[in-house]
Symmetry: C3
Subunit: 437 residues, 3 copies
Amino acid sequence: MTKRLRLSLRSGVLVLLALTLTPQIGFAQEAEVSQEMFTVNNTWMLVATFLVFIMHLGFACLECGLTQAKNTVNILFKNTGVVAIGLLTYALMGFNLMYPGDFSIGQFFGFAGFGIEPPVDGNTIAYADGAYTYWTDFIFQAMFAATAATIVSGAVAERIKLGSFLVFTTIYVSLIYPIAGSWKWGGGWLDSMGFYDFAGSTLVHSVGGWGALAGIIVLGPRIGKYVNGQVRAIAGHNMPLATIGVFLLWLGWFGFNGGSVLSAAPELVSRVFVTTCLASAAGIIGAMLTSWAVQHKPDLTMMLNGSLAGLVGITAGADVVSVNASILIGLIAGVIVVGSVLFIDRVHIDDPVGAVSVHLVCGIWGTLAVGIFSADHSLATQVIGVLAYGAISFPSALLIFFALKQVMGLRVSAEEERIGLDVGEHGMEAYQLPPTR
Amino acid sequence: MTKRLRLSLRSGVLVLLALTLTPQIGFAQEAEVSQEMFTVNNTWMLVATFLVFIMHLGFACLECGLTQAKNTVNILFKNTGVVAIGLLTYALMGFNLMYPGDFSIGQFFGFAGFGIEPPVDGNTIAYADGAYTYWTDFIFQAMFAATAATIVSGAVAERIKLGSFLVFTTIYVSLIYPIAGSWKWGGGWLDSMGFYDFAGSTLVHSVGGWGALAGIIVLGPRIGKYVNGQVRAIAGHNMPLATIGVFLLWLGWFGFNGGSVLSAAPELVSRVFVTTCLASAAGIIGAMLTSWAVQHKPDLTMMLNGSLAGLVGITAGADVVSVNASILIGLIAGVIVVGSVLFIDRVHIDDPVGAVSVHLVCGIWGTLAVGIFSADHSLATQVIGVLAYGAISFPSALLIFFALKQVMGLRVSAEEERIGLDVGEHGMEAYQLPPTR
Amino acid sequence: MTKRLRLSLRSGVLVLLALTLTPQIGFAQEAEVSQEMFTVNNTWMLVATFLVFIMHLGFACLECGLTQAKNTVNILFKNTGVVAIGLLTYALMGFNLMYPGDFSIGQFFGFAGFGIEPPVDGNTIAYADGAYTYWTDFIFQAMFAATAATIVSGAVAERIKLGSFLVFTTIYVSLIYPIAGSWKWGGGWLDSMGFYDFAGSTLVHSVGGWGALAGIIVLGPRIGKYVNGQVRAIAGHNMPLATIGVFLLWLGWFGFNGGSVLSAAPELVSRVFVTTCLASAAGIIGAMLTSWAVQHKPDLTMMLNGSLAGLVGITAGADVVSVNASILIGLIAGVIVVGSVLFIDRVHIDDPVGAVSVHLVCGIWGTLAVGIFSADHSLATQVIGVLAYGAISFPSALLIFFALKQVMGLRVSAEEERIGLDVGEHGMEAYQLPPTR
């Protein structure tokens, strides 16, 4: 029921959704909260906003670190561009597609018009319920938007044409992500059904993961990854960078999940901090032990993916599961991600950063876990939600990638792939390091 | 009118400046705000403070990334030292020069004495108006102070003597920056004229940019940059580091601009987040398209500079221009910065990181944009402000650099420049990397 | 008296400890604070929590940067694992050992049971006194817990077996750190005596530093460090990474110290920001000048250690010493750390990152400084506290390391040390960088 605040305000419905989530606080019955409460709520949401912003740097570092040095400039370019495209298209249309207020086609599609503009009754739209301003609403949601495309970026790295990727991003972020998002957070049909996804295990991570899978399938594997039926590992080039990426993502998740409370409600935000943090810790341990047992060595990249797996896994239910459940969800996510990475590689799906395993597989796990660990939610409904998001995201992404392949070409030449996209696409190299002595 | 809070308090004028900026909130008429509002305002200002602190790391990363590996230790040393010097000299005298309370020479110069000490009437100086404490006031402003010197650092990198740079920094940060700042934020003559600079497009970025230009002129270009009238690009050595730097600067800007509201006023702070963020995004797109068109390749460093250009451009008017205007200001800044970088190189001004283009040229653009996009401000007055800050900063910096050249020498020897300042000045190297296989 | 909040709540004692620290605010006399104040206090504590989280990334970057490239994956693995182990064991037992409520053995040991669970009277345990929720209490303290083990990590780097280190960490963090911590922050015998350690110069940093010293002694120096009585410097491999680490640690310290106020009390939190920040700046200047004078070159790593030295030094008294005293404490810490690093190396204690000098030596200095610079605290009592923490930490760590040496072995083989732990323990390398041209 979270994230519907803006919708309800637009509809003139003064049900205080965010506040009823924290009934123990005792001011939920009032139609208005004080200016002080409004200010602290809004301030927390802005803090959460800049935390989610940091995740984009985290993704950039992680993706660079886990791929080859010769494609680093390309990745940095893509990831910086995606943030800009995501923010601007969300202002242009995404926000009003995701939170249309009224739907025009069933509960499947609605559009409140181009651009962002606060309602005519002044800037204090959210004042009455004590949550946050219109601007805060926009910028917090806008920071989420680019995430889905960034997830795709890692999966298609080291072989996709820059221009084609940027066009894909623009379409996926400005149309698919917000329309799909409106089904739940915009108050659409899945919200009416009782589907639950607190902060986006499905709405953000699976949507990104489905796009990643589609991209990998259309593009095919990197040259040299699968040779004569053998898997040849292509090592990442910078482990400190990858680790910085994961820590920054973890940091950002305090805002991703903590901000999804949509207020500074102390009990709820702090419990979300605990479940989020312990799920990540448990994901690390789960992945560490699993990979140590299966691969017979302590694998850093598996451990890092374990952290993200735990985080993606807890995202759907961070506010409704118990602390003990959060540890279990994270632990299982850590086990799952190792199995998934190994399996996906075995079936020759070449995912350089493990995006499908982390975001799609663990996103599904986290969404189902809500139905398993929270008595208030139905596992069947969660399954329906998972399938629905797969049914819109995967074919859409496939279609866009196929169309781009026809129109612009999708993959760089074998020669460019060999020398690297940095020189091939950008005419520059990422590093100029001193000779080794 | 922002940043004058402390001044007004000192003068005993109880006009609630920060609060009148947000009249819609409805408590501006009261002489005091609640303890709760005081606390949330103060908390937000401290959050903004640590965000501005992060910018110093951002500058360090960006400057290292865009220069050669052999000068990396030197740059890290400079940038760490500058933060320390900036904070301590601001405590010693900068704060009381910038916010003197009463001016002693016209509205041009005043000094409230050495050291920082809250007024005798207790520690709750700011309580009555609900803004923040004396200590918050100091530390937020102190974080800004070192910025101007750090901007210079990038421009003079790879050839300036360490000791001379540190002396320049000390003088520029403890004298020029705060005295110039007092003209506007301290309530001096430019403030009286109606000049407007919300968070420092001119007071911080142009002042730094003028110092950068002066340093470049006195030092001359790096050896090998301009040979027989030809420009030879000297590539930066670490693009991930440069990108981390820009993202950290963007992150810090949420505090730089968001904190310049000087309270947690929801409407205003959140709108500043939106204008700041969209200007950066638009700057990225503007610089990306311009450089792609002009240079015929997608240039990462231009894109990164585009982000900073948008941020510098929006800084003067982030609170007074519309959201659509912020996008336009950022977009134009992105175009300008590419043109400026190319032009400045063509006239053989060797600015390794593009500091003059980003901070001076776009700082001027942003300041003028207030006069263009805000009906409440006069373009003519904005021009006067821009010229006034040029008239104090550039000659002062030139004078200091010339004096240092005579007294200490300003430039390292050609031999040291060739082997790098890391070995030459510090006797160590930044990297000890494994042999390539 | 800080950090006892939870204890007092458990004991049913409604003395408003955190609030009485800020009597000037005027609401300390009330038995309850408003919901608004509760919310802003809780929000600040969560911000402080994510800041302390960042310190773990800071430690990882610093330790990697100051050691050899061939051991980087190992360090990243250790530091990521330590965070996970620290959080989970603190949830399992550490929290309830550190804040037992009632002690069972004198005022030396108490245990409130396994797991974390808010008291039966609902989730709003902390509501009445306006501080923060049970969950916030837990997660803020949990972030501290892993720090002690991380400090050890740097000291034993490049030669300790991975498995043995992880076992050491688990024991040290889940038993020694919280039991020792209960003596002061849990309301034990040292708290009763009047010992003062605001945010952990002793409770966190010295405890970590004693463990570091014990580890070094049991392990011995790295091969090649001391040859024929000569000290051979082993250079760190990545100075930008080390510098990023220090800036992130400094950033995190705003939460480490600022959050230790245990509320958002404006006067106190903002003054702690100022003392913390100026002590770090002064530490930089102190170490810079000392090392420049003694070593005849401007040494970046000494400067970085100076920042940390100042931060560790101010941590015990950040809330009780004057601003001028904080500068002096930091300056002296900067001098001390240079002397200590040089001395420790001379006596052939091989501490790759200077952990003993920074955390133990400056932790002691900071704790004693409270007795020197604050009239309200006794130097003799501070000495007793320092000795008491040495008496529990050092022998405990020695014992654990000796036991592990017998049971699992503690040190990798000479051959593995030579080729590096990355290949030896993990079968992978941290960097795959392009050939130099």
